[in-house]
Symmetry: C2
Subunit: 710 residues, 2 copies
């Protein structure tokens, strides 16, 4: 069954509201473009003052049209929008595309106008595209309702917060000439239909193989994540998300009024949902095209082949910078290459089969076959002059070069490994490269862009593999619910540390032994119960949020008398700091063994909802911000990826006398905290900092939780 928006994005009947016989008007040009591009649906001009426009019968109003209407292309000014949408509703039009600006993006007055228009649309069940957009193109029925010509048709959908950026990608497609567009749309103000619905519709569109998104801000990021999770396993989504810098956020706000979210949060959650993120505008089209062409990539191990050096060095740097590996070829493969080109300059990877004086295009095919058969290799990249041999060395090598191009396509399908060709001749559009591309092999002009394409392909298939493990919806824990109810009843939102520990324990998280000292005499029992070693003492009080600042923490306290004195000291200090603090007592727990300080947290992001954070704790958190985020809930695979994604993950592997962290235990902690938060969304904040990670397990040295009242 087609998606509900499918009819709107691929209309069989299209009414042009504000159609005109004046060639300067959008209401004329829109119809002209539809005709020129061979629109296969029915065009219905609406204008009370004309009887026919460009040969089509013109109606005075939508209501006067006898046919069903899928989409109304509204060319009239903003102020008429409520009336037009009401007419759409009365007529039963499926959707209306509002071109005009002057709504919420422009002024408070415009915002009110937009709200009013949306209210009417909702009343009648009319779906709205825009306002403040430059139109729509969809290839299925050749519906070109956008002010642009010569749009190449193909399997890429373009969707974005900016008509200009979408058009700039289209220009790339026009220059590249190979892979064209299925649907193209700038979402405008998203007053009704938002990114996630478009995404869902394109996800189920048979004519779309890869979706390119340029996003300055979501209106419903949670819904987008959910849509992405459904679609990305079968259809790649390539996204440029703005907001990486304060400057970018400010520009996005001034452009589209979008509130770009926290990039660290967004990029984590989107990647988790299978979205392929790129950070350069010139990577969107190449990455999408490559994803549409090549078979899955099983790992990150790439082989580089060239005739002649230099470029292999640049390729190696570019691949390494993107987290791809130049795995050593097996001795068998190296022997095969040596047999093919005895004088080859390098045969282990990168392969430089130069060394003779004559150009030998046939080596590329023979060496590629040997390399693709190598089990150490997940993808193949050519760099240098291949694709331009005939141009460079004369027509005598053309036949061989062309034959290799055809073979590469066959090999890519046979061995099911991606091939990417970088050719210095890409801009010359040689015959060989045309043949190569027709054989299904992507090529690029620049080494760095070719490397980026392979990185995006690897990212996508990594996500797909990770997403095969479903995350079960976690069930609430009765003890946790009860405790939250109790805290709520007391009117508090911050849990006491003793309560936070109870919650953690109920969620199956190991918490260190502890004893609450309520009176001086408890010291002896506490010391005994906690094994006699050094203790950490902390005040427990609903009125003391920052315990250290209030003098409420003492560390490394050993022995009964010292514990008794320290506890008394804490109570005294707290009293001095907050005279009327209600104090439950002093919590004593063994000092954690030395380890790596980590942080695990849960927060409610204004855009992406409940997210879990993992990273390095202590001074690292503040100065270095080496933390990563995922939307809740996370799978084990998600959690493993989080550990692998922090910048200084080397800290987890044992540096400077610190233990190598027990990663499975930390992964387990993340999964449990995520499940706790997911099952109990009334917990709005969890802050475990530091979690001291050991070679065997971990110690949660401090735990804070905040719940929502009511």
């Amino acid at each position: 069954m087609p998606h509900p928006l499918d009819r709107i994005l691929n209309p069989r009947t299209l009414a042009v509201v504000g159609a005109s016989n004046d060639p300067e008007k959008r209401g004329y040009r829109a119809i002209k473009t539809l005709i020129t591009d061979g629109y296969e649906g029915k065009i219905i001009p609406i204008n009370p003052k004309a009887s026919a426009i460009l040969g089509f019968k013109c109606y005075a109003s939508l209501e006067a049209v006898p046919d069903e209407i899928d989409l109304a292309l509204v060319c009239t000014p903003a102020r008429l929008a409520p009336d037009v949408v009401r007419s759409c509703g009365k007529k039963g039009v499926q959707g209306a595309l509002l071109l005009a600006g002057g709504f919420s993006e422009a002024s408070e007055e415009g915002r009110i106008l937009e709200e009013k228009t949306v209210a009417i649309a909702r009343e009648y069940g009319v779906r709205l595209i825009g306002p403040n957009t430059n139109g729509l193109f969809s290839a299925r029925l050749n519906c070109n309702a956008i002010a642009w010509f010569n749009i190449p048709r193909g399997p890429l959908a373009l969707l974005g917060s900016s008509g200009n950026v979408i058009l700039s990608i289209l220009i790339e497609a026009q220059i590249h000439k190979y892979m064209g567009i299925s649907t193209m749309l700038s979402v405008g103000n998203q007053c009704d239909i938002m990114f996630h619905e478009y995404l869902e519709c394109l996800g189920s569109d048979a004519g779309t193989e890869v979706i390119i998104l340029y996003i300055e801000g979501f209106k419903d990021a949670r819904a987008f994540l959910s849509a992405a999770r459904k679609i990305t396993p079968s259809k790649p989504v390539v996204m440029y998300l703005s907001g990486r810098s304060a400057e970018g956020k400010r520009a996005a706000r001034s452009h589209s009024g979008s509130l770009a979210g926290d990039y660290a949060v967004g990029s984590g959650a989107l990647r988790q949902a299978g979205v392929v993120l790129v950070t350069q505008s010139d990577h969107m089209y190449p990455a999408a095209e490559a994803l549409a062409l090549v078979p899955p990539m099983r790992g990150r191990r790439v082989a580089v082949i060239s005739e002649g050096g230099g470029v292999i060095t640049v390729a190696a740097e570019a691949l390494a910078a993107r987290g791809l590996e130049l795995a050593q070829l097996t001795p068998e493969t190296q022997a095969k290459i040596h047999a093919i080109v005895p004088a080859a300059s390098a045969i282990s990877n990168p392969v430089d089969h130069g060394g003779g004086t004559d150009p030998r295009a046939e080596y590329y095919g023979l060496v590629a076959k040997a390399v693709l058969e190598d089990p150490n290799i997940d993808a193949l990249m050519f760099v240098g002059f291949f694709g331009g041999y005939a141009l460079r060395y004369g027509e005598s090598v053309a036949a061989t070069e062309n034959a290799v191009c055809v073979e590469l396509g066959e090999m890519m399908r046979k061995y099911r490994k991606p091939i990417m060709v970088q050719s210095h001749y890409a801009h010359f559009r040689t015959n060989a490269l045309d043949i190569l591309r027709r054989a299904g092999v992507p090529f690029q002009r620049h080494i760095e862009i070719a490397a980026q394409c392979l990185a995006s392909i690897a990212d996508y298939h990594e996500s797909r593999r990770r997403m095969t493990t479903a995350t079960p919806a976690p069930a609430p824990v009765a003890a946790v619910s009860a405790l939250i109810a109790k805290v709520r009843a007391s009117g508090r939102s911050a849990l006491l540390e003793t309560e936070a520990r109870e919650v953690l324990a109920a969620a199956g998280v190991p918490v260190p032994r502890s004893v609450l000292l309520r009176k001086p005499e408890d010291a002896a029992a506490a010391v005994k119960a906690l094994g006699g070693g050094a203790l950490a003492l902390k005040v427990v009080s609903q009125d003391v949020l920052h315990k250290s600042d209030a003098g409420g923490v003492r560390l490394d306290v050993t022995g009964e008398q010292a514990v008794r004195d320290a506890a008394a000291g804490i109570l005294q200090a707290v009293k001095t700091h907050t005279a009327d603090a209600c104090v439950d007592g002093v919590l004593a727990a063994p000092m954690a063994p030395k380890g790596v300080e980590l942080i695990v947290g849960v927060a409610r992001d204004p855009q992406y909802g409940q997210v879990i954070m993992f990273g390095l704790g202590g001074v690292f958190v503040e100065a270095i911000k080496d933390v990563v985020f995922r939307a809740v809930p996370v799978s084990r695979a998600d959690a493993e990826e989080m550990l692998d994604e922090i910048k200084f993950k080397v800290m987890l592997d044992g540096v400077r006398g610190l233990p190598a962290v027990d990663k499975p235990a930390i992964v387990d902690l993340l999964v449990k905290i995520s499940a706790l938060a997911a099952a109990h969304p009334e917990i709005t904040e969890i802050d475990l900092n530091p979690v001291i990670a050991h070679g065997d397990g971990y110690t949660i040295a401090d735990a804070r939780m905040i719940i929502r009242q009511s």
Copy 2:
């Protein structure tokens, strides 16, 4: 006076050794190419078996030629090189370019052949280019001795470790069609002439305005730094240096046999010498072209102008990612823009002067003028569709757009601020863009590359400003020389900490007070002398290198008895660890106040020579490697840049209760340590770790020095 290599790189007479009448042979094609490209010098074929080649009189040997010969282009096989070079010597040929491979890059046999050839060249004073190169192009006399056609002439020199990479940049110039090449050369094995000499020669070449270098490894990096320092203040040098990753280093080694140096060291030293480093191969040509065109950039503040949004967001992200600032325009400028385009969507920066429905190319010129007059702005960037207005909106806007293009060139010269245009139409080569480029304004297709060009321009002019302060050559300090002599006399290379402190003090570096305890009774006097506070105690022994491992360190020791006990404990532990250790005593010094742990070091890099390191100390050093390098000696400006260049420089500004570091004091320390190392090159290693930085000054908590036993 021209550089000694000038005649060799721009030969007036060129002998082709191994000239041939066989069109398949390089010795034929070389002459053919010279003729085709209109070589203005004299061609002299050498071949004992021919009397004339391609119409030129052929000589049996170099010695038989009556004319003076500037360059011999040697097309014969490797094994004949010694004989050919000897002939060159006997004839008094200035230089010989050895095309053949099969020398040191290929085998041990080849290395010996290369050494022999070089020895003969030295004997006769013949300079050698290559071997293992693909030839030379120089525009001055149209000397095309490289296997490539249609080389556009212009002010860019291309020099590199790889003929292929050099050719790939040439292809960019051919595609771009604007700025061509003055000299083009792949240096091959650098058996005689190395990068620094070519650089010096190009530095003094009036036909070269910017030099592009692709470098896989230096043979004399110190000499290169020295040449770069001389040339970069008047001529920009843009470099891609390989070796950023292990993979890149490996590929470079397999390609050119080059040992890529440590990238962190190299990039620091090269930047200090004024070199503009880029890390993508597709940035070399655009950055060089832009540097050749635009006036100096006084700071890093860029204004972005567009008609329509989206692209301004991408531009803001791209600029911010490269350390450029989008400074706010002054209220006056904003008022001017508002007066020009009352409906503008954004006027503070980025400027989006879209808002109306009609394209208005004239706004670009008017807004650009207002922005260039703004004192907050150092450079201007256009993004979007400008340059393609006539193509997009029709010929009616062509005259206006073209006029703006001319005006932009005039404004750039008038206001002396760089202008960079990014146009989605750059690949369509519109008339407007042709006019723009002829007006001297660079343009690019991609936003990120345009942003990178501005970053490279800013980098270059920052370097120039920094390099105006000369670093005086430091003089040796008598007390230091005496101490080093004493240590040498004792046969040691590692200084005792007491000696290292003496050296520091003699170099004018404040060292903390300390007392050497030689016997238990010294404790009382030490405690008194050091103020009675907590002390750090360390063993002083030439036989204990790793003091902590030997139990030779005790921290936070307070009071006479405790000091006495701790000192005894240290001596006992050291004796247990190293039975026959010769111990001078125990050094007592006050515990350093809390602060930020830094590291300052000097080392002898195998490629770049004496370098100074600065960075974060403690656990940061090992896990995060947040350190930067410069060649010794450093100026104050260099040192200031070092502080600014570490990744987590935020740690210097006071985080988490740590003090904001006294930066002038640290800069002073770096300059003094650098001067010490420069004046006393026999000190091969200095390791001050940690230097504990305070709000006021610093404490050197540990000092190690190593000297060379000459």
